[in-house]
């Protein structure tokens, strides 16, 4: 099954380079795993195999399969197949970037305020809705969430300056 089939039209990074990148990253993870296992010992200890025994061999298998995958990637793809067009990738990044800001904002702003902001940014930037609809949903969803989690299921979520100010 060729995954590049739906990336119709438009230039973009080659599928081969992404394929190689993923395999190389996994190789890196395997190397980290091997190093970490060696540190705690991969041999035979007082209680049987040491802590690093299992992860060591796991990482070795990752290493071997990555080597095969790298060879496959170079052989199978010519470098002309497109992973996704730049336009499609821009769409993807329009989610990744606000979400990245969001996950790092949660500890300081609290779950409710940052969630409201994420929804607002998303709706305004990508959906281009009027401020009224944006405000209704961006404020409404956190309020519903608050009632459901804090009041109904008694699960506290992280709070920030806004909740302090409201005295919740």
């Amino acid at each position: 099954m060729s995954e590049s089939s739906h990336s119709s039209g438009g230039a973009g990074p080659s599928h081969r380079s992404v394929e190689i990148g993923v395999a190389l990253f996994m190789t890196l993870l395997a190397a980290v795993g091997i190093a970490g296992s060696l540190k705690v010992g991969i041999g035979w200890g007082a209680e049987g195999p040491k802590a690093g025994f299992f992860p060591f061999y796991i990482s070795v298998i990752v290493l071997i399969s990555c080597a095969v995958n790298l060879v496959q990637a170079v052989r199978e793809f010519t470098g002309r197949e497109v992973f996704a067009s730049w336009g499609q990738l821009r769409q993807v990044f329009s989610v990744v970037i606000p979400t990245t800001v969001y996950v790092f904002a949660v500890p300081s702003l609290g779950m409710y305020m940052s969630s409201g902001l994420l929804i607002a940014v998303f709706m305004k930037w990508i959906g281009r809705y009027s401020w009224l609809i944006v405000a209704a949903i961006a404020i409404g969803v956190p309020i519903i969430t608050y009632v459901m989690f804090e009041r109904w299921f008694l699960v506290p979520l992280p709070k920030g300056p806004l909740e302090d100010w409201l005295g919740l």
Binding site: L29, V40, A51, L89, V96
Partner: protein, 501 residues
């Protein structure tokens, strides 16, 4: 046997309490919504809602969560038929004939057929679970560490041999999962490993975070890439259409039975619902009288994949309940739930937690009946959800995922990890690495490793322990056959071809 039937009726009495019925309806409704929405599927939907059940009794919690699963299985069919968008991977095959039917104005027939077949498939699988699960469990009670490891071995080998992804990509994804599962405290020696001094890694990677990231966020990124225009057919279901379709369906009993069997078989082995639905569709197309009309809106082409997918999805709970080895990512999440509620999955459940096990099995029967009624009556409502633009639904799903990830351990770092897993999931999916074995490896890593090391400890390090008794060598050999299945198949056809030519 007689005792099991008694237990089952006791289970029904547990499920029929008003509170549990309410949870069942709630679960099914949430499940259908989850199945309809892009970016939310059975596995991550349940993972997100799991923390809400921490305060419930395990039986009520599993009723609600398993009903979400049934609902998600039903929901996948709605988007496939009306919008040509498979809500879940296992409903891809349903689009082949379901969507053409909807375009011809027969959406009601297609949906009725899909829901009814789902129901039949599930019912068949539940009956099988009722009959087989106690037997398998009592058999598995005798298992020692080598046998337990061999079962894990078989489960993971079937992933490599049976999945459609390249085998070395499956192995790589799976082993990365094992490695992630190994991070943190080593359960046997109490030693820290692979943490490299990062305090965040002390407790390791939680698979629930991985599920929410890989399946939830990853799926949203894929949806964004593919564009956001959902254009669908309208759904009209009235009792007359339902009745007429029901009158027509018994004609396809052979297809239905075959799909049930394929589904149960594929569901027990962790290959899962998706290949089961394709396989069933393929065979039906070859066997059926009007097979060449498949793909143009043949009702039998809806019956076959839906029956198999739902049977497989349900059957996936059999190994989860009786052996502690989940047959699908969603079953894995349910297994994770058991651990959180303080239950030990595996054969002992049938001895120590009778209420729980039989309550769950009874809820499978009732849940599917309730599910069928709900989806048949509320299709237009559910279809309307998909008409809400993605630029509104998208960020709300993101927020739900983040809240779900946070509430697993009340830890904001987990939310960051969720995003990392999400981007990884997007890249892995695009480069054809399977995600299910990775998730299962994170869940089962500790247990598989424990069984492996205990076996080696007993044998003083000799791998021969895995071939020491008849039982364990049989399971290991089955595992090896599954692992090399594509090669065996190719070799077999090569031997046969010169003979027939």
């Amino acid at each position: 046997m007689i005792e099991d039937i008694g237990n089952l009726f006791h289970g029904f009495s547990v499920v029929l309490q008003p509170y549990n019925i309410m949870l069942m309806v709630l679960g099914i409704t949430l499940g259908v919504i989850i199945g309809v929405l892009p970016g939310l599927g059975g596995a991550n939907g349940i993972a997100i809602l799991l923390p809400l059940t921490f305060s419930m009794s395990p039986t009520s919690a599993i009723i609600m969560l398993s009903c979400i699963y049934w609902g998600a299985l039903f929901g996948g069919a709605i988007t496939s038929v009306l919008f040509n968008i498979p809500g879940e991977p296992w409903s891809v095959a349903t689009t082949f004939d379901g969507y053409p039917m909807a375009q011809q104005g027969k959406a009601g027939e297609a949906l009725t057929a899909a829901f009814t077949s789902s129901f039949v498939g599930a019912l068949f699988a539940v009956i099988m679970i009722t009959l087989l699960a106690p037997l398998v469990a009592s058999f598995a009670l005798e298992f020692g560490p080598p046998e337990i490891f061999s079962v894990y071995f078989l489960a993971f080998c079937s992933f490599v041999g049976l999945s459609k992804e390249p085998p070395f990509k499956t192995i790589a994804a799976m082993m990365i999962g094992f490695a992630l599962g190994a991070v943190g405290l080593d359960q046997m020696t109490g030693q820290l490993r692979l943490t490299f001094g990062f305090p965040h890694l002390l407790s390791g990677f939680d698979f629930l975070i991985a599920v929410i990231g890989l399946f939830g966020i990853g799926e949203i990124l894929l949806t964004m890439e593919e564009g956001l225009n959902f254009r669908g057919n309208s759904a009209k279901i009235n009792p007359r259409v339902v009745w007429q379709t029901w009158k027509e369906l018994p004609r396809y009993w052979a297809t239905s039975l075959r799909s049930c069997l394929i589904g149960c078989w594929m569901g027990i082995s962790p290959a899962g619902a998706t290949p089961a639905s394709f396989m069933s569709y393929g065979i039906a197309k070859r066997v059926a009288k009007n097979g060449k009309n498949f793909g143009k809106g043949e009702i039998e082409g809806v019956v076959a994949p839906e029956t198999a997918a739902h049977a497989a999805g349900t059957a996936a709970l059999l190994p989860m309940l009786s052996l502690g080895v989940p047959g699908s990512p969603t079953a894995a999440v349910l297994l994770g739930g058991l651990l959180i509620w303080g239950l030990q999955p595996g054969p002992l459940l049938f001895v120590e937690q009778k209420d729980f096990v039989w309550g769950l099995i009874a809820s499978m029967y009732l849940g599917n009946v309730v599910g069928l009624i709900i989806v048949l009556t509320c299709v237009p409502l559910f279809a309307a959800i998909l008409r809400v633009p993605f630029s509104i639904i998208g960020p709300i799903i993101l927020v739900m995922c983040a809240i779900g990830a946070y509430t697993v351990h009340n830890n904001t770092f987990d939310v960051v990890m969720m995003l990392v897993f999400g981007v990884a999931g997007y890249l892995l999916k695009k480069t054809n690495y399977p995600l299910a074995p990775m998730v299962l490896a994170i869940v089962l890593g500790d247990k598989a490793e424990e069984a492996f090391r205990q076996s080696l400890l007993a044998s003083q390090g000799s791998l021969g322990v895995f071939f020491s008794t008849k039982l364990v060598s049989t399971i290991m050999v089955l595992g090896l056959i599954a692992l090399f299945w594509p090669m065996i198949q190719e070799g077999w056809s090569r031997i046969r071809r010169p003979a027939t030519a």
